[in-house]
Structures are given as structure tokens and as C-alpha cells.
Amino acid sequence: MKTVEEIRAAILAAVPGAAVTVLPNASPSAQQSLLIGAEHATAIAKFLRDDEELALDFLSNVTGVDWLDKEIAEKVKVTRQVAKPVEGGEPGQVQMMDETVEETRKHVEPGYLEVVYHLFSVAKKHGPVVLRMRTANRTDKAELPSLTPVWRSAEFQEREVFDLFGIVFKGHPDLRRILMWDEFKDFPMRRDYVEPDDFEYEPTPHDEVLKRAQAHRAHVGAAEAKP
């Protein structure tokens, strides 16, 4: 089978203007993946399926990943002017001097939701090719194109990703919750998901559960003490 770099070149030749990046994998499996832009995703998927050499006719797995906002701290050297008392001078006499200080600057890299597709070829007996797509952010722009029109097997798995991560797949024929009930509002596999506070009975609590049980007891105790 072609390497990921070769697949990337083939995609770029077939789909002009497509955004394709190779994401390296440093682990022993060295399973490199292709990050594709949402704009040309359907065209890229069609190419991967229909290309005679690749013939990736089988989509085995669709899954989601939640990447939180990242706060990055950088150390920067800043030069600024400081007023200092003059040595041996009269009290109150100051002199402006340059001073170099190290400052820590923080900036937030916005998080995103990611969806990962594992492709195989039954005809050519090769694979997997790993595709990834990323949403613009985690809140109001969690939209991606659906690959169900290309691979039918994506239908239920994309529904599951929608159910648990809240990624909205444009062009999906039947995007409803699949595991949780329709009235459910949260996305349980997101990392900022807060479970309902039902820690009233934990006979053997430990670690995180112990903390939640104690918080629940304090909360209920305060509510009972009020009236």
C-alpha cells in the first residue's frame, strides 16, 4: 500500500485545493493519520473509495476525540524603564534605568472536536488509512460534513459520535441520538461533562467518587439545614 505521504500527494493531485496534513504518530505502531479539511472532505472520501489503487471500500470505525482549550505559558524577555534611587545622591533623587525582566505570557489555544475514521480495503486487503477531521471550535461551530453518503457504515457510528460528543454531521440522512434518549441535553463523552449529582449512596467510595460523595453530602446537608 502507498505510504501516507503518497496518499496525501494522490489526494492533492485528484482534489485540487484540498487541505491535507500528515499527522505523525511517534508511538511504535507509527500509524500516521491524514488530517483533512472539512471543505473537500466528501470529494476526498469519494476519491479514496473509488481510486483503483487505494480502493478503500470499507469504513470500519468512526470515533470522536475532545480536545479542550489549551493554556500555553511562554517566557518572554521584556525590557522596561525603571526608576531607581541614585547611589550616593540625595534622598528622593531618581534616575531612569533599563531593566530586562522575564515575563510569563499566557495565551489560550482554542480546543476542538475531532472525528477519526479508520478505512480498509477489502478488495486490495490493505489498511488502515486513518482520516481525521476537526471542528472550528467546541461550542457553536461543531459541524463537520457527514461521510455516510460515501460509506454507508458510517451512519450509526456518526450518530453515536453526535450523541456522545455533539458533533453535527451535515448531510447525514438521519441524525438522531442513538444511545441516550431524545430528551437528553448533554454530551457525556465531552471532557467537561458534569454527571448528575446522584452520589447519595456510595458504600465504598474512593478517589474521585469519594470527593463527589462528600460534595453531595455537604450540598444536601446545607439544603436540609436551610428551612
Binding site: 437528553f184 446522584d198 449512596y201
Partner: protein, 204 residues
């Protein structure tokens, strides 16, 4: 009025059978507890094994698994009760005729088991319906289920037809219908039936 055991044996030797209506009635009830035919997860496989030739649940009069709640006397909660499934389980229980009994089989059915801290699994079916016998295990062996059957039979045998501990179908004021929880935005509403389940006191 119970019959003295020694007198009963003595009369039996003379060819006279003595019994009470209560004994006869409970003997009939406990010897034909028909379970409802439904399984929820892997515990159901053990439940099926219990009915097969090796463990032979028929010895206890419970071989007839009824596919309708109207004809069943007992419900075996055999496996994980997800929050999505819980209203259906309560509804099926409501549709059963009295006298009805519940066996919660396995770690999931009694407490949520390994999924207790998950977002989608009920922390024990006893939060919504009264459970007569809890069996631990993951899954419990068929012997454990048979043990639960025998415990339930003992319980039925011990019930008197009048007085405080009479079975629910002879109690005019006993609760017949149990509220079915609704699907809420974050959890089932209510999260438990306060009339059935109260938070146990944890003694440290």
C-alpha cells in the same frame, strides 16, 4: 392457626392428612412461580442456563417463562438496567398481576455494578420497584439464581394470609402502580422513587 408438627406426623402415620388453608395456599403459590421471559444483559445467559437440563429450574416449578407480564408471577432483572431501559422495566412491572415478586440478579441490577459511576446506567433497580431477593455476582452462577428462587419460596411460605406481613394482593391499601420515571434533560426524573427506596445509612 398452625398445626403442631409432631401431631401432624402422628396423624400422617394413621393415614390422616392435616393442613391449613394458609399452608395449602402458599404451597400452591410457591410451587409455580412463573418468571417473565426477558433478559437485559449477560446475566440473562446464566438465567437461560438455569432453565436448561443441567440446573433444571423445573424442579422448583418455575420452568414456564411467560412472554407476557400479565401471566407472570415474577420478574428476574437479569443484567444491567440502563437509564433508557428503566422506564420500560417499571412499566412491565406495573403490568404484572399481583402477587408479583422481583429478583434482582447480578451486580448491575442491584447497584449498577462496574458501571455504577457511568452516565447511562441506573444505580440499582430497587430505586424504582420493590425487590424481594438480591443476588450478587458478575454474573451469578445458576446455583446462585436457584438459591434466590429457594429464598423467595421460603419468603412466600412464611407469609400469613392475614396480619401485617400478608402478601400485597391481600392488602387493600398496598401500592399497585409504581410511577414510571420520565426521561429528563440530564437524568431520569425522578432519580429514585422515595416511597420504595430510601438512602441507606452508611455506618463507618
Amino acid at each position: 392457626m398452625a398445626v403442631d408438627q409432631n401431631l401432624k406426623i402422628e396423624l400422617g402415620k394413621q393415614g390422616i392428612v392435616v393442613t391449613t388453608l394458609e399452608e395449602l395456599y402458599n404451597w400452591g403459590r410457591r410451587s409455580s412461580i412463573w418468571p417473565m421471559q426477558f433478559g437485559l444483559a449477560c446475566c440473562a445467559i446464566e438465567m437461560i442456563a438455569t432453565t436448561m437440563a443441567r440446573y433444571d429450574l423445573a424442579r422448583f416449578g418455575s420452568e414456564v417463562f411467560r412472554p407476557s407480564p400479565r401471566q407472570a408471577d415474577m420478574m428476574i432483572i437479569s443484567g444491567t438496567v440502563t437509564k433508557k431501559m428503566a422506564p420500560q422495566v417499571v412499566r412491565l412491572y406495573n403490568q404484572m398481576a399481583e402477587p408479583r415478586y422481583v429478583i434482582a440478579m447480578g451486580a448491575c441490577a442491584i447497584s449498577g455494578g462496574p458501571f455504577k459511576q457511568g452516565y447511562n446506567v441506573l444505580k440499582g433497580i430497587d430505586r424504582y420497584i420493590p425487590v424481594d431477593v438480591h443476588i450478587p455476582g458478575c454474573p451469578p452462577r445458576p446455583e446462585a439464581l436457584i438459591q434466590a428462587f429457594m429464598t423467595l419460596q421460603k419468603k412466600i411460605d412464611g407469609q400469613s394470609l392475614t396480619g401485617e406481613d400478608r402478601p400485597r394482593h391481600l392488602d387493600k391499601d398496598a401500592q399497585g402502580e409504581f410511577p414510571v420515571p420520565e426521561f429528563g434533560e440530564h437524568d431520569l426524573e425522578p432519580a429514585s422513587n422515595k416511597g420504595v427506596w430510601t438512602v441507606p445509612t452508611i455506618i463507618k
